[in-house]
């Protein structure tokens, strides 16, 4: 095994002349968790794809245990023990959870898949904290976080020697992340080399032994965890400090300001129970809680996606119950929603950047005719500038942009309508710090201009530092409303687990 498992020597890779990695030397060792940090476009994903056999280097060599290797496909790489869990989940939606896991590393007897393998798949699921997911469930029926767990179980099941996790925990709540980290520590103890990509600094702190920072396709520096402060690390990544990530706090919006969005007593199926909440003009209101406690559903209920919603939903005094998205986005109502999954719900990946941006505004032109050179284009140009969108050409398919820039396009397509109330579902998931900072500043500016912003988020940091008030959901209803000084990580976690009653008894 020697003492280094994977080594890259002077590896370069470029796409159509644009370098993605330039002369990268990198190594990672068995029994260690190695975090890779960097902004979007820093080359992290390219590095992962090279190791996983999805793409091949233009020059340089990759070696494992001293042996030079050249993988022509993920299958090749997996044979050598390299397993990659990609951000874009690699599950087959119509197959059962069990089949998905078993197909990753099948064992057969006389041509038939061995039944015992399914038992092992079950054990892998239990191990990563997915006890409640049945083996027979179809993946298409699972939530995003459940899919991530299945994906992790699948990776563990393959008994990797090098495990690559690319934003593998982005949709998981902190408890589940802790369970998964437990598994990673166990694998580490067994001598597995783990590469860990995450944009959540506290996760990197919690699990990694070593950190490598990438910037602009180059390997900048590698050091042990603890050798640099978070500020220094951020500095290495983007040349900016952590304080600059969140814009300065704004003065609170007075309680006397009338609510823009007023939701009262809303229930739906068993997933929403008498939810009441309000957002005033100029406020950023957060929705937090553990995974799938109703925060996502209330957004869908307001945006007219759900059928059979009871209760009252009003925007500036106008009743919205029963109205659907095409009506809700009209200027007299002015509601917009940035959905959870930008790839499937936010964008049409094969259409161009410009087309995607115009998509939401289409229904507003008379008879659907495009106002080709009208003011919506001028507004788009303004927005592109305001969002600092980085792109090659507006005619490129939106899928060619980085994740952060894709999210900016989703924002632009709704902002061009000048909504009065903006609903955002986890808008910074899997996005680099630089773009996060830009989006935070944008949201603050929009609120200052009088928009009511509702931000559902799995990231406690942004609920604490960005929001005026936070509604914490628990089992379909609002368990607690936190504001001002009450907004702390401890309070959020306590409220998420519905243990706030003790604190209430003290008061």
């Amino acid at each position: 095994m020697a003492d280094r498992y994977v080594e890259l020597k002077s590896v370069s890779k470029s796409y159509g002349g644009v370098p993605a990695l330039t002369k990268v030397d990198f190594r990672c060792e068995p029994g260690r968790v190695h975090a890779i940090l960097g902004e979007n476009g820093a080359g992290k994903s390219t590095l992962m794809k090279l190791l996983a056999g999805v793409i091949q280097p233009d020059s340089g060599t990759i070696s494992i245990g001293g042996q030079t290797v050249r993988f022509s496909s993920p299958r090749d790489a997996a044979k050598q023990g390299t397993v990659c869990m990609f951000q874009e989940l690699s599950l087959m939606p119509h197959l059962s959870v069990g089949d998905n896991i078993v197909l990753a590393a099948p064992r057969t007897r006389m041509g038939l898949v061995e039944r015992g393998v399914y038992q092992e798949a079950r054990e892998a699921l239990d191990l990563v904290g997915a006890r409640s997911i049945p083996l027979g469930a179809r993946v298409s029926g699972l939530s995003l976080s459940e899919r991530q767990l299945v994906e992790i179980a699948k990776a563990v099941f393959r008994k990797p020697k090098l495990l690559i996790l690319d934003e593998a925990t982005s949709a998981l709540t902190s408890e589940l992340v802790e369970t998964v980290f437990g598994v990673l520590r166990m694998l580490k103890a067994q001598g597995v080399a783990i590469l860990f990509i995450s944009h959540r600094m506290h996760e990197v702190d919690a699990i990694a032994d070593r950190i490598s920072v990438f910037r602009n396709g180059r390997h900048i520096e590698t050091f042990d965890v603890g050798a640099r402060t978070t500020d220094q690390i951020v500095g290495l990544m983007i040349g900016r400090s952590l304080e600059e990530l969140f814009p300065p706090r704004r003065p609170p919006v007075p309680d006397t300001t009338p609510a823009v969005l007023d939701v009262s007593d809303v229930s739906w199926q068993s997933q929403l129970v008498n939810v009441s909440l309000a957002a005033r003009a100029g406020e950023i209101v957060g929705l937090g809680g553990l995974d799938a406690q109703g925060q996502q559903q209330i957004m869908h209920a307001v945006f007219g996606v759900l059928r059979g919603v009871t209760g009252r939903i009003e925007l500036n005094g106008k009743r919205l119950n029963g109205l659907k998205p095409p009506r809700l986005k009209q200027s007299d109502i002015g509601l917009a929603l940035v959905p959870e999954d930008r790839k499937t719900e936010g964008l049409i990946p094969s259409m161009s950047v410009a087309q995607n941006m115009r998509l939401a505004a289409l229904g507003r032109a008379p008879f659907g005719l495009l106002d080709l050179n009208g003011n919506s284009d001028a507004r788009l140009r303004q927005l592109i500038e305001r969002l600092a969108l980085t792109y090659g050409s507006l005619e490129d398919p939106v899928a060619t942009l980085s994740g952060g820039n894709q999210q900016k396009v989703v924002l632009a397509k709704w902002l061009v309508l000048s909504p009065k109330c903006l609903l955002l579902m986890d808008p910074t998931r899997g996005i680099d710090l630089g773009t996060k900072a830009q989006i935070y500043r944008l949201l603050t500016d929009l609120a200052a201009e009088g928009m009511a912003v509702i931000l559902q988020s799995t990231d406690y940091e942004e609920l604490i530092h960005l929001c005026d008030r936070v509604y914490v959901f628990y089992r379909g209803s609002v368990a607690k409303e936190l504001k001002g000084d009450q907004l702390s990580a401890d309070a959020l976690i306590a409220a998420s687990m519905n243990v706030h009653l003790h604190a209430g008894a003290r008061a």
Partner: protein, 320 residues
């Protein structure tokens, strides 16, 4: 069990519809429930059922095969040359016919996988070629088929049509292959999401070739069975099989978007179609009105299958 039923709801509904239609057919048939009636019904159902299974394999991996009927016609024509003589020569002839079917499927598969041509275009073109070859080989229907074998395969044993036994054996074999082997599960995986399948380390290209050649193989079985029933080789039988096979898989709950469905569903769909047209024949409706009613029943069946839409509480689900 209930989840299993829910996941196979389309098949269950189709099976129920089949039972109702079949009961109606028997009720109005002048000779009622008899081995004769059931055998004729089963023989014709098996022909379309096999064609539907052939279609199923291609639809499973997100394709559509417009050449199914042509492969049936071509293999039927080839069978009319080789399926006679001594038992040995019949056996060799059988292998030859199946090889022709697999070769046709493989041609489609190679064009789709390596030529990167869309399945609908590929099979439109190859379908023309296959029918063309059939026409060149046998410009008018003719040829001869071993009658002993034909009798053995198209009559009934102990009141059970042999064709039904053949169909059940084929289905059981396919179900084991599809649900219990890595290749079978891999086919579902590739149909469900090609990218995910590739990332999981499946041999996507090879699996698609397997799907297309399996389609050709089963289409050849259909071609052989046509020869058994008609005792001739006819190059012109293709078109109806192609379109009906597509209708059958849709009726049987096989998703045209890939990854969903089973050969059982495809066969049930085929039997439904066959029963509808037989029902029409004995219903006393004017013959010219039959296509209209066939279409109407097809549309109703599909609409019933889509009723689940009204149970959906989140509109987002409708667009997935």
């Amino acid at each position: 069990m209930t989840t299993r039923l829910r996941q196979n709801a389309r098949e269950a509904i189709a099976a129920l519809a089949l039972v109702v239609l079949f009961t109606g057919y028997i009720a109005i048939h002048p000779r009622g429930f008899s081995t004769y009636v059931v055998t004729i019904w089963s023989n014709e159902g098996t022909l379309l059922g096999l064609a539907a299974i052939a279609q199923f394999f291609v639809v499973l991996v997100k394709g559509i095969d417009l050449s199914v009927g042509s492969v049936v016609a071509l293999t039927n024509v080839v069978a009319s040359f080789v399926l006679n003589g001594s038992p040995t020569s019949i056996a060799l002839g059988m292998v030859a016919v199946l090889a022709v079917g697999v070769a046709c499927g493989l041609v489609n598969g190679i064009a789709v996988v390596h030529g990167r041509v869309q399945p609908i275009v590929t099979t439109l073109a190859t379908g023309g070629m296959f029918s063309g070859i059939a026409l060149l080989l046998r410009p008018t229907p003719g040829g001869s088929i071993d009658e002993t074998m034909s009798d053995a395969l198209t009559y009934a044993v102990a009141g059970i049509p042999v064709s039904a036994i053949v169909l059940v054996v084929v289905l059981v074999a396919l179900l084991v292959l599809l649900r219990r082997t890595t290749v079978g599960l891999g086919l579902y995986g590739v149909g469900s999401s090609e990218q995910s399948a590739y990332m999981t380390g499946l041999r996507v290209n090879r699996l698609k070739l397997v799907a297309y050649s399996s389609s050709g193989f089963v289409a050849a079985l259909a071609g052989i069975y046509v020869s058994m029933v008609t005792l001739t080789g006819d190059p012109n039988i293709g078109p109806s099989y192609t379109l009906n096979s597509i209708a059958a898989v849709v009726l049987g709950g096989v998703a045209l978007s890939g990854g969903v469905g089973s050969p059982i569903g495809a066969v049930i769909g085929a039997l439904i179609l066959k029963t509808i047209s037989s029902l029409m024949f004995f219903s006393g409706l004017p013959p010219l009105a039959q296509p209209f009613f066939e279409g109407l029943i097809l549309a109703t069946a599909i609409a019933l299958g889509a009723l689940g839409v009204f149970r959906v509480r989140s509109r987002l689900e409708l667009y997935r």
